[in-house]
Amino acid sequence: MTDRQKFLYFIALHRTGLWVTALSLLLLVFPLVENNPYTLGLTNLIAIHAIVVLGLNLFIGYAGQISLGHAAFFGLGAYGSAIACVTFGLDSWLAMLLVAGLVALVALLVGIPALRLTGHYLAMATLGLNFVFHTILLQWDQMTGGPSGFYGIPSLSLGSFAFDDELRLHYLLWGLALLSLLLCLNLVRSGVGRGLSALAGDEIAAAALGVDTRRAKVKVFVLSAVLASVAGSLFAHTYGFISPDSFGIFVSTDLVIMVVIGGMGSIWGSLFGAALITLLPEWMDLFETYKDFVHGGILVLVLMFLPQGLITGLLDLLRVQLARLRQKNVTA
């Protein structure tokens, strides 16, 4: 091999790692370029959403299922952390872990029966879960603060170093988002990930190849719930205040829209979807009132023209065109 070939081979072999490194470097220097706390606050929110959307994309895009209730797991994480830290005085990191474990258990108990359902029924079941959770948040006001929300959640800290301004939070939140990204990328590049893609493509074929389809679905559901829970805990500690409105069914549908925009079955697309839907309201004032209309409209358009999702759909088109082009060159 010539040096050039060696170099290209190295790039091809490590392209995922190189992309992650590039993104990490970009995020590392981002606050030097843009230090407006408001902007950093927005990108921090993107990081939190990205963690949820990564997990949800594994469930929707890879395992081929649907959940309209992930805001419930997000909320369980947030309220769990809030209650554990403020009401019971636990350490916030410990609380985050305990709550994530608890959410895993809840997801397991919900997932085992619910994932026997498919399609519309699964959508309804997860939607129902979200409704129940939202109602509990509103009604159980001694514990949750009811409709007026939960105040006074402390910032996360390491020793005496508190993550209490946007800059510090930027590094914490994006560090964890990148970690989640890396874990998800590893998963989809493994045999387990291929099994999941197979599951999304055709359940019978996947089973014939040795994929335990029922178990795989439940596992991914639990994994996505845990990621949502961690993101919820981070959300609570970042803002110090949470209210039931942040965890209603419209938040669940927004999360699904993020997955669809980014592209089903695209880990990188998840970041894009989370970023776009988080930023859209900032770009258009009129969005505030008609947010749900615009989100719904985007969803319908994407599903009509690129059912695989925006980024995945475009990439697929590109790959198909490239392959067709090469096919022509071969035959010519």
């Binding site: 590893n186 998963l187 590049r189 045999g191 996947a206 089973a207 190849l209």
Partner: protein
């Protein structure tokens, strides 16, 4: 190697299979033929755990597998292809073949997420094997294409590569040449021949009589859910019941 004992399947009282028994011997090609609606697909679905038989047993290397789930049967070493192609269109050709190695790739999600060195090495070995399998079927140069853009004949070959890459003990082929032209049929026939020479055990479900007669060691004939004949290709071809099932009543046509 694979033995069916009195296998029956009813769909809401309607018998799709009744009391079918036969055996697949190691290293041989067993062909399962029969007119449309004879119950061939039901039979293969009962063998692979997609359907549960109503009664009777399927034994694989002496152990009953009829109550196992589809993925457990696959892990016992039975691979299959599908009549109407079940490739994953969005995955690359190579990844499609790699799904045939799911059983060996490890199933721990946590390990996969950590991508420990032993998994990376294993992944590299599996890729090499998948590439070898693609080369065997003459698809090596299309490894990174999305499966969706392949021609129909190529897709059929990818499915064969996927079914054989894991060195399964038994391969069930559901109409591997359906929809192929004469040249492609000959090519697939050649590849099946090579598989047999390599010592694979095949159960072939096929309409193409030329292929069956050339390839099979043993032919089992189904009609209306019942086994009406079995034997060598030459024996079956002379069997009056088989002729009747395929050509209609002899007296009426005479």
């Amino acid at each position: 190697m694979l033995r069916l004992e009195q296998l029956s399947k009813n769909f809401g009282g309607l018998p799709a299979l009744s009391q079918v028994s036969f055996e697949v011997f190691p290293g041989q090609v067993t062909a399962l033929i029969g007119p449309n609606g004879a119950g061939k697909s039901t039979l293969i679905n009962c063998m692979t755990g997609v359907l549960q038989p109503s009664s009777g047993r399927v034994l694989f290397r002496g152990a009953a597998i009829s109550s196992l789930a589809a993925h457990q049967i696959a892990r016992c070493g039975i691979a299959r292809t599908f009549q109407n192609l079940k490739l994953f269109p969005r995955l690359s050709v190579l990844d499609n073949v790699l799904t045939g190695l799911t059983c060996e790739a490890g199933s721990s999600m946590v390990m996969a997420m950590l991508r420990l060195p032993y998994l990376r090495h294993r992944e590299r070995r599996l890729r090499l094997r998948a590439l070898e399998a693609l080369d065997r079927f003459g698809l090596g140069d299309k490894a990174d294409w999305p499966a969706a853009v392949l021609a129909y004949g190529d897709k059929k070959r990818v499915e064969l590569a996927r079914a054989t890459v894991g060195n399964p003990q038994l391969i069930l082929l559901d109409e591997p040449v359906a929809g192929l032209n004469a040249a492609e049929t000959a090519a697939v026939g050649e590849q099946l021949h090579l598989l047999r020479r390599a010592g694979h055990t095949l159960l072939l479900i096929e309409h193409d009589m030329d292929l069956v007669m050339k390839l099979a060691d043993q032919v089992v004939v189904l009609d209306s859910g019942q086994k009406i004949a079995s034997g060598t290709p030459a024996e079956v071809r002379r069997n009056p019941r088989v002729l009747e099932a395929y050509l209609g009543c002899m007296e009426a046509t005479a």
